[in-house]
Structures are given as structure tokens and as C-alpha cells.
């Protein structure tokens, strides 16, 4: 298949394609899932991170 005779190399080739496909499918299915509210601690975290960035 695909000109590759060795089973394990062919498997690796196909698994690369399938795992990329898995990422696409997962991304599409969960496109609108997992939204989280921004908490006070998130804002605090970001402010400190920003401070460090600015100084650098």
C-alpha cells in the first residue's frame, strides 16, 4: 500500500495522517465546548505576567 512494503513504516505513515485527522475532528466537535469564565485570579495572573513582560 502506498508503495511501502514494511508494515511498521506503513503503520507509522498512516498513524501520522490519522492522528492529524483526530486533532481536526476533535477540534471541530469541541469547537464551542470548554468556555470558562474569567475569574479574579485569572485577571491577577495576567496583570503580573504583563508587568514582567513590560519590564523585559
Amino acid at each position: 500500500m502506498l508503495g511501502i512494503e514494511d508494515f511498521y513504516v506503513l503503520l507509522a505513515y498512516l498513524l501520522c495522517l490519522l492522528s492529524a485527522l483526530l486533532c481536526v475532528v476533535y477540534g471541530l466537535i469541541n469547537w464551542n465546548r470548554g468556555e470558562e469564565a474569567v475569574l479574579e485570579e485569572d485577571v491577577r495572573w495576567v496583570e503580573e505576567e504583563k508587568e514582567v513582560e513590560e519590564e523585559l
Partner: protein, 662 residues
Amino acid sequence: MLAQSLGLIEIIVVVIYMMVIGYLGWLGYRRTRTATDYLVAGRKVHPFVMALSYGATFISTSAIVGFGGVAGMFGMSLLWLTFLNIFVGIFIAFVFLGGPTRKMGHHLDAHTFPELLGRRYQSKFVQIFSGLVIFLFMPLYAAAVLIGGCAFIASQFGIDYNTALLVFSVLIAAYVIVGGLKGVMYTDALQGSIMFVGMIVLLVFTYVIVGGVVEGHRQLVELGKNPNIFGGIGFQGWASMPKFGWGAVEAAKGPNLDGYNLWWIVISTITLGVGIGVLAQPQLAVRFMTVKSRRELNRAMLIGGIFILIMTGVAFTVGSLSNVYFLTKEKVEGKLVSVTGVGAKSEWDWVIAKKERGLNLNPEDGSKKNPAIGPDEKAVPCQLLHLDTSGDDEADTHLIFKGYGGAAAITPKAEIEGLAKGGDPKTFVGRQVVVHPRATAYMRAIVKNADGTYECKTSRIIPYYIRSAMPKWFGLLFLLTLLAAAMSTLSSQFHAVGTSIGRDVYEQVTGRHGRSIGVTRIGILIGIVLAVIISYLNPGGGYIIARATAIFFGLCASTFLPAFIGGLFFKRITRAGAIASMIVGFSVTAFWLVFVKTSESSAIGLVQKFAGGKSSILADSPNWPVVDPILIALPLSILTVIIVSLMTKPSSKEHLADCFHK
């Protein structure tokens, strides 16, 4: 001189590119478009931008030029690494680690990877130790990225490696110091897009050159059946897995201890070392903290998986297929400047091949017969053609015309158009010639070292392929691809180096919180200097890029992964458990690299004093000297974290509530 060799157009394009990157950086600065600003403002960052930015940080010249070159040597078995890159590095990382890392980072107000570990375990030691490991070893990985970029620049523009290193380092340093550290998402995303386009074009052209997907693979299978320089360590063709097994291979001339080595190199060092190590990469883990919610991770995965496929998948496939091109299609046109290595044995040329490991010249029977020119350098006896392809009367391309003795079967037999079989190539000296090198990718990548010796350099396989097989304009696109790949990764690496010594070590040791900016900057500078020195000392021989990357990834996995994952998911993991596992993971890896794994231990040079001049304390045992430390250190580190945690008191309920509350 530099302007002459680089060409005006190339310089203009690079300058324009740098200006665009600079402009985007400035725009980001002015409009505050860094990752954190998105969070502050609660604005939406486009998932493609997040994914490309993560991918551009993940993938560097090390993966494209370094590991792509290794695929040119060893073939498509490297695709197992691509599979792990996607499945572990993207899918597992985004689905399972991203959310919890972000949450715990915010709960504990941690801003660096060592700080996250340190606060989770309420331990200054954990933070300082992690900071030191990153500060001391990240420059090794940064050097791998630099070497990859320099190998390409040197080859593409015919300048020497040191000049390329100087130019590249100045470009990178300017970028990193002027503003690359701010992690402006649009800059990273632009770099990711350039990488994406560059690699797609490379893939399409390559499959067209070799006659299509199926035909290209079929030819690779056929060509892989010929005797190969790596036959003695288990190579079975570029489209086959290496010979699998453990122990000595019985051969006509006695047992060959190295007969299964290649499988262990490809699987343990290259695939597992790098494939698993990605989960504990400090510069990638902190990226999760800058994400607004799990939803952004879900969305980013869509493009993330494809991006990695197009990066490493293409690099490894093209690296392997370059053998079809070099062996059957390549023509080198130029003036034959000289022919050397003709006559008595004392006159032969010796091309250094696989500097770190013995090579086998009797692939048919699997026995060893190494003509060594130095204690650690193995070389192939041959006759060389030296061609000038740029028109400056200086030989810039060195091709093997034929090999001598046992090397004849595994060396290329170049053909000069117009020269009869068995004819004397010297009669063509001074004339314009067309040569068919008929070389494998590895034996085509010959470089003349500063000391006058010749060496096959894995890091030159992809650059030579681009220069020879691809249209000239692509060289420029690829240069931008590699600049982008290098800059996006290096800036995050040096950022991690700086904060690890400033925030994690200096602040923790002195207790002067929030006053480490000066130290951080000095740390970044030291990191850059260290990386440049390592790159200067290792101009891409053997497969140094892949190895340096694997060392760092493996070290991170064994030292941090059990404490990191344990800390994220299990309340029962204790401070003592984490500390013990980090020390065990680090020490076992260090011990293995210094005393057991030949390629590293022989370079470090300490083991010879303890092992009677041998380069590994297990030099007489089959396969052990090529097994990667991750196979030993990671399991021990995992066991340690479990056993010690079970034997010690868990953290207080209050602290655990701080870490894990919803």
C-alpha cells in the same frame, strides 16, 4: 564578500522580512497584542493564531534540518516520531495537560514552569533545581536550533559555517533582544504561516520529482535493498524499520555487538526521547497558562495537528525521499578542479563518516572491519572529485568517485558524462563536466572541514537537497521558513533561560522578589553566548542536532514529567516524592550520558578513565551503549515519585484545596 555570496535579492528579502517581523512586534507592543492582553481584555484570540504560535514555538530548524537529515540517513522509520509529535505533543498535551496546567498556574499565580512545580510542592528547592536544569541545559537545545539554521545558510549561499553562525547569531540576538521575547502572537503566527507554506511546497515538489507518492516510495524501497554504510547496525532500507532485536548478531566473522543498534537509536533516542519529552518542555507548558479557556485549546487543536504533520512529517518524508533524488536523478554541473585519492593506499582520501560510532564495511555478513583514522573517527577510503559549481575557481562540491576495498560496495560510484567506464577522471580536470553522483543522501553530504579533512554531515542533507533539487526561488522561501522556525523557538527558549535564572533561581535564593529583571537579562545573554559557543564547537558533524535536542527533551522528561503530571492530577504526590523523583531522573540521565551512552560519553571523555580507555562502561555488552537514558531514567523517576509519596505525608488539605479548587 558576504554581500557577494548571499546575493542582493536574498539580502533585500531577508531585510524586508525582518522589518515586517519588527513592524508586527511594534504593532503588538503599541496595541498590546501579546497573549496576556487577550486575556486581560477578554478578547478572543483566533484559534489559528494560537495554534500557529504554539506550533512555531514547538517546531524549529532542529526538527526540519536536524531530524530531516537523520531521516535522510535512516529513513522513514522516523515517522514514528511524527506520530508521537502529533498524538502526544498536540492531542494528549492539549486535551489532558493544557487545561489543568492553566488552572493550576492561575490558582497558584505561577508564571514559569519551575514556579508552577515549586508552588505546587511548596518547595524552594524544586523551583531552584528546575530553574538551574533549564538554565544549564536549554542552551544545548538552542544550539541545536542554531546549528540547523547555519548549516542551511552555509550550504545555500556557499559561505563557511562560521560566517553563517556569525550572521545568524547577530540576526537572532537582535530579534530576541529588541522584542521577540514579548511573545507577540501575530509575529509567531506569521512565522508559523511561512513555515507551513514552505513545507507544503517542499512536499509537493519532492513527490513530483520522485514521480509521485506511490512511485517515490516504491523506488525508495528498491534502492534501500543495496548494501548500505549502516548495514552493520541494522539498516534495512529507508522505507523499512531497522532490524529489531537485542544482543549480538552472529556473523561469519564472529558476533557483531552492534547488529541491532539502529533500532534502539531510532526508537529509544529519536522517537521516545523527543516524542515523550515534549510534554515536559518548560517553554511549551507555560504557553497553556496564557490561554483563556479550554475552548481555545480545543479549537487550536484543529490546526495544531495538521501543522505538526506538515512540519516533521514533511521533513522526515522528504529527508528519506532525497535518497531517490540523489541516487537516481541528481546532476552536478561545474568545473572539475581536481581529483584526489588516486594511486597507492597512502594517497587515498578518507571521508569521515559517522564520527561518533564505528561503521561497518561488511554489510553482507554483518561483521566489523573499521579502517580508523583516529580513536573515535571512522572513515571511508575513496577517490574524490572536487568541483567548482559557482564559477570562482574554488572547489565547493566534493563527490565520491569510487570507494576502495571493503568500502567499494557501500560508496557511491559517480559517473562523469563522456567518460567511459573505467576511464580516468583526471583527463577531465580543468573542464566543465556533468557528474551523476549516484550517492545516498548521507554520502552526498560531504563537507570539507577547516582542518582539510572531509566528512559526511547529516545536517547538510536537507540543505544540499534544497539547493540541488528545488528551484532557486524556493531556496529563498526556505531560508525564510528556517529563519521563522528558528526565531520563534529561540525566543521562547531564551525567555525560559532568562526567567529560570532570574525569577526561579535568583529571586528564590536571595528572597528579593520582583527584582530580578537585571539578572534575567544577563541570563538571556549568557544563554545566547553559550548556545553560540556550543554551535561553534559542533559544526553539524554526526547527527549532533538531533542528539542535542534528544538530550534536552529526555532530560526534561526524566526530571520533570513525573512531578509535573503527578502534581497536576494526584493530590497524594508529596513534596518529598517530587524532589526524590527529580533528583533520580536527573542523576540517572546524567550518569547514563557520562558513563554508558557511547555517543555522549565519548564526547564528554570522563568514562575512558574508569573503563580502561573504552567509551562506555557497557562497551562490551550488545546494544546498551546506544540505549537512550529516557528508557532507564523515566521509569525509575516514576517509580520514585510513587514509592516516596506513599511513604511520606501528603500536603495540607488547605494547600491542596488552593491547588485543585474549581
